[in-house]
Structure formats: structure tokens, C-alpha cells
Symmetry: C2
Subunit: 281 residues, 2 copies
């Protein structure tokens, strides 16, 4: 089936859901319907031309052949259950949850044969939220992780690959478990750390007043939606704890070098960081 | 003395020194001479019109009535000693070091009466370095901390205030000790943490490949000059250790909430961070 004609529904019109809608419309000529229980968000999305219509979950399940779940992890887990009994056989289903093992595990367990599910995670975002912050180019050249399992069929992988490339992103394939391990390191743990940095100056207005570019850059992600991050942390608890313990160990090693006045070790720490970070650009 | 006519020398033509030169030239009509021992950097600065001439430290001390030290903290400490015996009485001296207690303490101790010293710290920067990264608007609306002591005279405070406003920054006044305490929290500790985050994925190319905007923003400052940061950490060791311990405690508290599955406490952590960070913009 060509993607171009496929009736698509996006559940959740936050930043990611709304940006997917805009990218689908501008790049692939697909104008999705939206499912959104928050009336303000729904009104905004309609007004901004992000979706063609707002429908109920059941209407979306009945009429759409491709459904994208773009809600917090906890809500994705609920919706997979709801959709399992109402989606049409032959339809495609994906989610954009920031954790994969728990979600994909549940989908594999409860979705009937005919539902073509593949979990995904676009590595893009912004501290903005909702339809107002949406951009059709949010996924431009961004990594988009797809997490097939033994239960995923080839047709679904092909379909999702076209979708990912269609919105401008680059598909990466790995197991849900690998995804959760890597993403803990480069997203979930940094997010908790950004929260700790900000909270460490919570009661210090003078320090906040002096905060310059470096601090602002480092803590921008702390402005994200607390519900999204609460769900992520619960869902990927073990990997996040492992990552946080690793950070604590690196901090302690650094403190030891400071205590010993070991200039070489202190330099090594910053040099390694500078070199490694230089590889990302 | 009006600043406009004052012969100025900038020692160290890295990002901050070069940007001060450009700001002085464009905004105040002052075209400083530079002192720079790295030949490449000196050549670049001359070629880019950042300084009118490259001179030796002794020539600068002899001819300039305002000297700005824009080198790493360890080097500032050395130069204050060298300059104490060669600067002309009535001249002004400042430094841009990221720690103040050690530097100002030494300056107060060894500079002769006639040298009008006041320590400062512009809260601006970039991950770029050297004359190539210099910008005349780097200090535009940036906080610029000045750290007067009992030994600082009014004339010097007035002079430095005109300089700071002249390059577009906003003067903030506090003691060297207060400065070091606050700046540890919003600059030095975050810098070490950014280093730890990057170093935690040093051996993980797959994680690096997936690194998205949030990780890049959080770790951009890890690309700064390791020598500068080694000096800062040694000079402000106690405040940095205190701040790092505080971050470790916040991480541990968060881990405890995770272990207990306490959704409310996890939400509170992210909500407080989001609200506090929102105050900075």
C-alpha cells in the first residue's frame, strides 16, 4: 500500500504529535485526523491546520489504517490495550514513546495478529510543547529509532521506514532493550541531571540572576513536561539508575583528583570530554 | 579620566580577550594593544583587526594605563606578580578570571598602592575559542560581576563600571567569596557535570550516534579549553566540591523516589525544575 493514500490518525497533539501531522501534510500530502482529549489543544490544532478533524479514539480506530500514538508512556500503555479490540485488521500502529521495552513488550503480548505494530522513537524535541511549538521540519535529519522484534513482519518494517523517511528523519534499527539502554545515557539520565542542576539553585535567586549561556543551555530540557518525564523514569527505571550511578562514580573520581591536586587527572577529565563531545557535531 | 583616551592593553587574545578588544573598538573607539605569547593567535588577532599591535608584557605595562588580564586563572596569578613591579602608578588593572577569591586575595596582598585594581568576571562565553570566535556583542546585556574589597577605591569602581557598561554588559557587585560560591553553582559545577555526562558515553559510539538536541545542548560547554577549567577547579575547589556533593544528594533523593515508585515525588522533582528554570529566561 502506498503511504500517500493511507488514512492516518495521530493520537495526542503535543509537540511531537503536532509536528508529525505538519511533516506528513507538507512532505507527504497526508492530512491526518487527530485524537485529543484536551479541548484547548484540540481547538488550537484545528485552527493551526495541524489536523483535518478531531475525532474520538474509536472513530480513529474505525476509519484510519495508520495510527500514531504520541502521548506520554503511561497513556501509550493504556491505549494499546484499548485499541487491541477496536482497530481494523491490516492496520498499522506505532507509538513515539521515549521508552520501548515496556511498550513493545505489551504490544507484542496483547495486539491481535492482524495489527501491524512497530514501536518507534524520534530523537527530536524542543523545550516547547503543544501545537504552538510544532514544526514540519522538527524531524529533519533526526535519528528515528525503530524497534522490531521477532513478532514484527517485513511489511510493517517497510511501511514504517517509508513513514520515517517521509517526515525527513533517518531510521535506526535496534531492539527495544538496546534502545532503552542507549537512550537512558543520552536522554533520560541527562534530563534528571538537568533537573538536579536547576533544583540545586532553586532557593538561590542571586545565582539564578547570574546564570549565563552555559547554564541556560544545560538546563533548557528541564522545562519539559513533568508528566512525560515521570512516566519515562518509571518505565526505564533500571537503566536510568545504572546511568545515574555511573555519573555519581565519575563525579566522585573527579572529586578525588581535586582532593589530590592531581592536575594531570583533572586535565584528562576535561580533555576526554572535549574530544568526545567534538565527535557529536 | 575619560575612558575614551585611555591606552589599553589586553593580555591574552582568546575568545574573551579578543571579544573585549572588538567591543572596546566598536563601542568605545578604543583600539587596544595585545599581549599574546602564542604566535598563531597573535597573527590571527592582528590580521582580524582585533588589536592595533602585539607588544610584550613590559611594553604594555610601560605604555598602557588600563590592563585587562584575559588568561587562565593560574596565569592571572602569575601575571599579577609580574605586573606588580612594572606597572605605572595611577594605572588601572583588572582580570576576567572565572574565580575571584584567590586572584583578588593575591592582588590585594601584593599590588602597590598606586595600581587601581578591581577583579571582574563577564558571564558570557561560547564553546568557541580564540580570535576566530570573537564577537563585539558577546557581552551585550550579559551580567559582569565586579568584586570590590576594602582596598578598592571609589575611582576604580567608577572606572570599571564605565568599562563594563561600555562593552554592553551589566555590572553586578559582590564580594569575591560570594562570587565564587554562586558561580560554582551556575557555572563550575555544571561544567564538571557536562564533562561527566559526555565521559559516560565515551566508549559508546551507538549512544553518541543517537545523541539529539537535548544532549548536545547540555554538553556543549564540555568543548571548552581544558586548561582554563583545570585552573578554575583548583582555584575554587571547596565551592565546587560542595556543589557536586549537593548534586549527588539530589540524584540520590531522586533514585530513592524511583525505588519507592513514588510518582508524586518524581513529578515534584521535575515540576520544581521546570518552574525554576522558567524563571531564568
Amino acid at each position: 500500500m502506498g503511504m500517500e493514500r493511507i488514512k492516518t490518525g495521530v493520537v495526542g497533539l503535543g509537540l511531537i504529535g503536532s509536528s508529525i501531522c505538519l511533516a506528513l501534510r507538507e512532505r507527504m500530502g497526508i492530512f491526518p485526523v487527530g485524537v485529543e482529549c484536551d479541548q484547548d489543544t484540540a481547538d488550537k490544532a484545528l485552527k493551526l491546520g495541524i489536523v483535518s478533524d478531531i475525532v474520538s479514539l474509536n472513530e480513529a480506530a474505525e476509519n484510519c489504517r495508520f495510527i500514531i500514538l504520541a502521548v506520554p508512556v503511561g497513556k501509550i500503555l493504556e491505549l494499546i490495550e484499548e485499541l487491541s479490540s477496536v482497530m481494523c485488521p491490516g492496520s498499522y500502529l506505532t507509538d513515539v514513546g521515549s521508552t520501548k521495552a515496556q511498550i513493545v513488550g505489551k504490544a507484542d503480548l496483547i495486539l491481535p495478529e492482524g495489527i501491524n505494530y512497530l514501536g518507534g522513537h524520534p530523537m527530536a524535541g524542543s523545550e516547547k510543547s503543544g501545537p504552538d511549538g510544532a514544526r514540519s521540519d522538527l524531524f529533519e535529519k533526526a535519528p528515528y529509532v525503530l524497534t522490531p522484534t521477532k513478532k514484527t513482519n517485513k511489511k510493517t518494517i517497510e511501511f514504517m521506514k517509508r513513514f520515517v523517511k517521509g517526515i525527513g528523519a533517518e531510521p535506526f534499527y535496534m531492539s527495544p532493550e538496546e534502545h532503552d539502554e542507549y537512550i537512558a545515557l543520552i536522554s533520560h539520565v541527562p534530563h534528571v541531571i538537568a533537573g538536579a542542576l536547576v533544583n540545586s539553585v532553586h532557593n538561590n535567586p542571586k545565582a539564578l540572576e547570574l546564570a549565563a549561556g552555559g547554564f541556560k543551555d544545560m538546563t533548557r530540557i528541564a522545562m519539559s513536561n513533568p508528566i512525560i518525564w515521570k512516566d519515562i523514569c518509571i518505565s526505564n527505571k533500571d537503566n536510568i539508575k545504572k546511568g545515574l550511578n555511573n555519573i555519581k562514580a565519575l563525579i566522585e573520581k573527579f572529586e578525588k583528583s581535586l582532593d589530590e591536586g592531581d592536575e594531570k587527572k583533572i586535565m584528562d577529565f576535561f580533555e576526554r570530554a572535549s574530544q568526545t563531545r567534538g565527535k557529536i557535531i
